[in-house]
């Protein structure tokens, strides 16, 4: 398996995605916005369609669209008078509708599009790898530097605001990080399933962790194991990688829930 370059590339990209997706998802889940990733995925779909229509690399247009979508959700939530789920619904449905219109205009309702929707390890290129590595490391560094502020903002947004913390800037940072994660993950996991990789490892980790830091570390560990195991299974079983990765993550949640319940069964 590892003698194949596309598999090595997929695994390398997968490890970065496996760490980054739960790390960003941690802050979304804690803010009860686990579905934001789903909404941004649909906006990224419109970005892919725009890339096809304009003849630009779809990954780049998807990244740009997702970032704008993330900022739009945050703006609607905080200043536009829309509750969190309303902001999400507005961006979610506008994104998918725009994607359908653009894809049909470009005449690209084909296999290539499905690769972005559901992920395909065959499509990862060296260019993708360097883009994922740069954006992934940059995003993780941002989380590391702003960790205390991000934690304060998600645990007690108003308390942090009163303390003089620029919560709006931190929330916008999370929205942009979520958008970047979706943009760089869609080759491996697929637009429609990346949100699951942001949420499921965190939900699993919450069941067995003993602190905030251990939740984050366990979630990233579960993310890596899910991606690597999912890619290997998809290679040998000729399965869709995105779906396989997410099913492994869902399995990790079931295991974590059983571990959590075990003492009570005694």
């Amino acid at each position: 398996m590892l003698e194949l370059e596309f598999m090595r590339l997929a695994l390398a990209v997968g490890v970065v995605v496996g760490i980054l997706a739960p790390a960003v998802g941690f802050f979304l889940v804690e803010r009860r916005q686990a579905l934001v990733g789903d909404g941004l995925g649909h906006v990224a779909f419109a970005g892919v369609a725009a890339g096809y229509l304009l003849g630009i690399e779809p990954v780049l247009t998807a990244l740009a669209f997702a970032v704008v979508g993330g900022l739009a959700i945050e703006w609607l939530r905080t200043r536009g008078g829309a509750a969190g789920d309303q902001a999400l619904a507005l961006v979610f449905y506008t994104g998918i509708a725009l994607g359908v219109v653009l894809v049909s205009s470009a005449g690209r309702l084909d296999v290539n599009l499905f690769q972005f929707l559901f992920g395909s390890i065959l499509t990862v290129t060296w260019g993708d790898f360097w883009l994922v590595l740069a954006l992934g490391l940059g995003s993780l560094a941002a989380i590391g530097v702003l960790y205390r502020g991000l934690v304060g903002a998600v645990l007690d947004e108003e308390g942090s605001r009163v303390a003089g913390v620029r919560v709006g800037l931190l929330n916008t940072t999370v929205a942009v990080l979520a958008a970047l994660t979706i943009g760089i993950s869609m080759r491996v996991v697929g637009i429609l399933l990346i949100a699951a990789l942001m949420a499921l490892p965190v939900l699993a980790a919450q069941r067995v962790a003993w602190s905030l830091r251990s939740t984050l570390c366990l979630a990233m560990g579960i993310g890596i194991v899910s991606v690597v195991t999912g890619l290997v299974l998809s290679y040998y079983g000729d399965l869709a990688p995105g779906g396989t990765i997410v099913l492994v993550a869902a399995g990790a949640f079931v295991v974590a829930a059983l571990v959590e319940a075990r003492p009570r069964l005694r």
């Binding site: 804690e30 702003l146 502020g149 308390g159 919450q206 602190s211």
Partner: protein
Amino acid sequence: MPLTPSVPALELDGVSFAYRGGPPALEDVTLTVEQGAFLGIAGPNGGGKTTLLRLALGLERPVSGTVRVFGLAPGARGAPRVAYVAQRAQLASGTPVTVRETVETGRLAVRGVVGPLRAADRRAVGQAIDRVGLQDRAGAPLRTLSGGMQQRAFIARALAAEPALLALDEPTTGVDATAQESLAELLAELREELGVTILYVSHEFGAVEHVVSRLVLVRGRIVFDGDPATLPAMWHDPSHAH
């Protein structure tokens, strides 16, 4: 920023407020709170006491009138630090966040959001935890503690910010009577030893009645303002305000 003793901790001048599309929640409220005061803000549910606190903290903006905290607009850069303990239900987390991790976030007000905590911050966090008597539970997840202990952890977080003004909204909701008494004593000690100004919102003020220096009853406007000992006996029943 050093405190100027002559400047009131809080001033509301002719403040009125209504939530969007709703009736007035507060009308023409004027209130001056001196530094070092322990102000109880009580009244019926929906009477506007939490709104009054949110206006003081800059979380809401008045429709008319002005709000000043230590002589400045709420949230102004360089203003003395303010700490806010929201209602406990709003602070619940699905993640097993520990007491120490909770208290560490209080240092955001002092250290800012960038980079790790320093040794001095860790000392301040430890002292805040000791102060509320949770030193033996510092590593325990909050969700494993009783309501009273959780409330102490949130107060420790506020103390870690080394605030000049501490605002608490319904801190005794869901807390048993013993923990309520204990909380009142802790707050009285903080005021006495640290000189911190305390704003304490509660729909029932029985537990803190004997430690507050001043009581304000709010029902859309201020209907009583003075020493709690002078409050007419029938008003000790908060339902009377309805």
